[in-house]
Point group: D2
């Protein structure tokens, strides 16, 4: 069961498809092995990057079961839905399928502080004793949660054990939340998103790790390790080597196609297929990403990483 | 099968729940009978007002089957979804369950003309020969479709047979679309929403009827009939008698609770229950709506309608 | 000086232009006389309906001076701006030109409760002892203020003397704010917008009047008077007579053109001109509004109002 | 006069203030000298980063005059406004004050292709023969312009001579626009924003330079120069040295404060003051940016740049 001590790299997993759009379950196995081998301490499935909205209910549960069957690291399942019935149903089924917890993003109709808090009260009531991750991603959800709101959810809902932090800018938010837990608020896990673009600063502010889908999970693992070892200079060297690609992958809307392309190129999944509606990469884009990967490899070799 | 000649009143059906939140299938039967008795020439289920997002996939199909089993009027099923897989799957199941067609709203991520047109190309390809309704409701979807875009979808997709018109303001759009079909564009059915707030003007501009959920379907039926008989003065008298309540029900976010309250009061459903997350009515609101209904009854009696 | 006792009808004034787009100052005089004659107890200039954003700074001040020179009713000036420098500058100039107070809408970038409260702290500090109206119009600003936020601004800023209430739905908000002042919160004036579409219910909930631009200010004056006299039935009769046109004018984006057309038809301004960018009315629209006005006149005569 | 051949680095200038919030005109001079010395081939004033909305009309013109008096490089003036009157007035005054052209962003109310095109027709008509820059920045304006729309504005409006490209992702857009001009469309200048985060890829796709406010204009100048000399490897080395800071400055909402801090630290302006409403930097943020600058300096020295 997921709890407040979760740390490290929870990779946001893609959902692999065959070229005809069917689920590619063999690639699911390969991908899970790949993520764990590259340093993932947990996995998150059916998130926005997992094309959750494009799956049928049956397919969604198939993915959960396949992933949990393949690995012993904790698996978080994205269960965001328009209503609590569907949310609760997928959450229950996922926990029965050995998931460690679930993740819930706020619907874009929420505006005021009280509306957001009220929504998460309903989520917690629906979930019962299932631990959940509060997903804070305003760029996509259009819901802005102040630190005060997050702290209130943490106070009111003991089953909220983690913040998926993806506000932008969001560094001050981490500092504020950590100052609050230093002053007596319950301390929950904070794992950061944004493709890793601010990972080192996030760790320096008090985050516990990353929950994001950058196609090189080892970047996050290495930076977190160096930071944990107190070697900030090494952490910067590592981070900077990957940064040109991190930045490139951060292009919204294109990120998923770029990740699937890179994961396929790395052998982690069989095909870069995205379900419709969804884009594909132009030749110029592929050329650009290949150039960035090639240069990244050289820089890593210079740092003694092959 | 739904086609371009559809006209009259397609009532947007609510989804009845028991006080504990379970589906209330007996009320589904009663509600269907009520709608048809009050003049509905068709029904639309699983729309936004049908709390579609709060149902599990299994429940959604249960509703479709129950409704189509109860009536012989055409049933349109809302199948909007984040991806084409879920959309296509519900559409196929619905048609097998004797639905007449499906309705698709655009996802709020669509911005440019080409994005909208491209999306509906994908919808039409996914649906094959299933007829579909293009739902144009910018207040909720944030997607604004110019007449040019709608005409392009109509031209490119022969299975697009109806526009659910709910732009606001939207009267000029009807005139533009009708001028286009007068000049050779394929003429599709236009049924109007917005709770009926502009129904008479919509008919005068060339609409074929209403697709909306105002709790008195007979208002739409009576106004359309009077308009069809060329008696605009009578149509205005009827419309004006209902207008104070139409206006009150048009309050966004509250409309569903108001409709379920009124339908329950009229005996069309057993309970006004809304699934979570969802609001309830205050005592002051109930007093206001009761006063409006009472006054409406008096006005209708003065018009010879009991 | 505007204070918490303000009540009645504060008409949102249009800004009259000549056909060539220049300010039409003679029409300003005529319009002011018209509004006051029809029952306005105050005027609001340079609001959204006043095309404030289309005026140069010099023109804006010209309008303020012309209006205050013409009438002795209190004049509120819309001073919303991206920064406090421009806001404060126009406010100061307006007060020197005998305005009674200013009105400030929140910029659409504000999201959380604390951001909104912080913004109004800055507004109050900038304005010094100038009384201001808090404008709450989420349909246009995209800023949703909970009653809690409004009460906090009222508590923190003694110069906030009025709420221009235009949330939709917004009736519960009035009840909540009035319950708060019954329980000790400072009671400010609440004048309602939304074109008058919910005026009677708003008065019944505790509003002090209307601040809106419906082209028949006498509707608001008559309804408020009947309500004040305890004759709710008469208030409903009056309201219902105007409702078809109120509803028609409420079409967003078109409202201003409709109002200027009607005001010109009534002789209150010389020309219906709107500055660019802005729309004009089609022949079909003009026919519709004329039909509504004609029918409204008949209904009012039946009520003994000529 | 600005024309289609404009290229290089047009720095988006900040507006310097004294600690009390007054204009700091001596810093304007120093800043202009600094920008040009660091490689700016043009300047853009009163853009979003220039806090244009926080200036009074008089102050805005004061800035324009001070900047044009100080330098001979072309000066572009941001004149975006809610109406064409204010837009045209500032544009005319700016040209009389020796500006080279103006820049216009679309108002956020524009949605459909035709609405955007119609708006720019009005802009061009208002501006007469004044050359203008089309600003494409959907993250802030919420207006998404397809390449088709941009090409239509270019075709219809001969005075549109430049695109300030700031879509995100936007690389394919550059390729599409350049393919169009290769096929006969009028070729306009494309200068890119986004803080320089994708500068090298933008140049490789056919851009003519940068129009952005990153506090090290020499980064853009050096990368563009290396690219122009055909030395892509050198361009990458330079870009990567600055990238950690570019990324940090790209945090929306904080960018301006970070830039002013850095510019003040570099001696380009006297004070990092931002006008209200606006944020300030925390101690932790200052520590982070100082660490990034220090490391950047070391990397540049390793590349032979001091």
């Amino acid at each position: 069961m997921l709890d407040e001590t979760a740390a490290g790299v929870f990779t946001i997993a893609v959902t692999p498809f065959l070229p005809n759009g069917d689920l590619d379950l063999q690639s699911v196995d390969r991908m899970v092995d790949f993520y764990v081998e590259k340093g993932a301490t947990g996995l998150t499935v059916l998130g926005m990057m997992g094309e959750a909205g494009k799956l049928t209910a049956t397919e969604a549960l198939t993915i959960v079961k396949r992933v949990t069957a393949r690995t012993s690291v904790p698996v978080v399942v994205g269960v965001s839905a328009a209503g609590f019935a569907a949310l609760g149903s997928l959450a229950k089924d996922s926990m029965e399928a050995s998931a460690a917890g679930v993740m819930v993003a706020p619907p874009s109709t929420l505006k005021t502080d009280d509306q957001i808090i009220g929504y998460y009260h309903g989520v917690a009531e629906t979930l019962g004793d299932i631990p959940f991750v509060l997903q804070d991603f305003p760029l996509v959800t259009n819901v802005v949660m102040s630190p005060k709101v997050i702290l209130r959810v943490v106070e009111d809902c003991p089953t909220c054990v983690m913040l998926k932090h993806e506000d932008w800018p969001g560094l001050e938010k981490i500092s504020t939340l950590r100052a609050a837990s230093d002053n007596g608020a319950r301390r929950i896990s904070i794992l950061c998103g944004n493709g890793g673009l601010y990972l080192l600063e996030e760790m320096l502010r008090g985050a516990d790790g990353a929950m994001t889908g950058f196609a090189y999970p080892e970047m996050m693992a290495q930076v977190i390790q160096a930071h944990g070892a107190g070697d900030v200079a090494r952490a910067r060297d590592l981070f900077d080597a990957y940064l040109p690609l991190v930045r490139y992958e951060a292009q919204p809307g294109m990120g998923l196609a770029l990740r699937k392309y890179t994961l396929a190129k790395r052998g982690a999944i069989g095909h870069p297929t995205i379900r419709k509606p969804g884009g594909s990469l132009s030749a110029a884009t592929i050329e650009e990403v290949d150039a960035l990967i090639s240069r990244q490899t050289s820089k890593l070799q210079a740092l003694g990483i092959s």
